[in-house]
Amino acid sequence: MLSAGSRFWLRVQGLVSQIFVLLTYYSIAGWMRFRRYRILDRGRVRAEFAALVGDRRGPLLVCANHLTLIDSLIIQWALAPGWRLFVRPDWFFWNLPDKYNMSINLFVRLLGYFGKCVLVRRKGPPEEIRRALDQVAYLLGRGQSMLVFPEGGRSRIGRVDTENFMYGVGRMMQDTPRARVVCVFARGAGQRVYSNYPKAGEAFAVRMKPVTPTTTFKGMRADRDLATQIVHHLRDMEQEYFEHATLGR
């Protein structure tokens, strides 16, 4: 159970992030343009996400594949323009990055704060991971959106890793059963394996699919079952992506 203090500071962070969302968003979008990143068919991607989420408010769990340190920025940029995040705070996703990656300097720490990051030590003690999951449950319970990477880190094999992934997303779904779940597959055309950053000039394909995983298990077994279903959805989306890329040659 999250303490009253933790809940308060999360609400403060949400409020501060929302006040500065336009500055944060367009600064990052400007940097991505400087790097000549682009989202393939961005208008269609944004329209698809808008149609998928619609006017309905409420908790949303966005589950994505993970290959670079800035995947969450790319996905947020791909799915909605800054002004949308301003008028629809629930479209401005909370993130769950590794504390180590977000502590390298003051700028990144500030970016993490304004970018609605809940920090977690991926290989930290169970009670710390439990606390992060409690924070996620609290935020989803307040109707917020969360962007998570079910694999738990950048895939070391360059493809969706169906062997080594975390079960935390399964716990999130159990903690907030009313949360809608959307799988998002994003990949740069030139991305071969995992990296810190995509190469300059990268063009990203982004696909999404609403999913409704269910399980008859309970507890940790349910965590594993639900997480497995999500990762398999991402794997299927990846297969479709590569089949499409092959046919397009």
């Binding site: 439990r130 738990g152 080594n164």
Partner: protein, 85 residues
């Protein structure tokens, strides 16, 4: 179940997940599962679920969180199997 039998079975269950095989060869009660044996923290859940299947016990989150060493695992299993009987 006695401690020695539980320890032996625990080693059998954990073995496929161990990356640091040198330490595994000299494992004892105080050997830490993640830090010393190099078991991926995500796989700890698989190990706990394997304990449930093997020993016919139920492990809640709180008990699972306390399992840091092989000794912790054995102690938990011995206690839970005793309670189950």
């Amino acid at each position: 179940m006695d401690t020695a039998t539980a320890f032996s079975k625990v080693l059998g269950i954990i073995k496929p997940f161990v990356k640091n095989t040198a330490v595994f060869g000299e494992a004892n009660d105080s050997t830490r599962i993640i830090e010393d044996l190099g078991v991926n923290s995500a796989r700890l859940v698989d190990i706990i679920l394997a304990f449930e299947d093997e020993f016919g016990i139920e492990v809640d989150d709180e008990s699972a969180d306390k399992v840091r060493t092989l000794g912790d695992a054995v102690q938990m299993i011995v206690q839970k199997t005793a309670t189950a009987q």
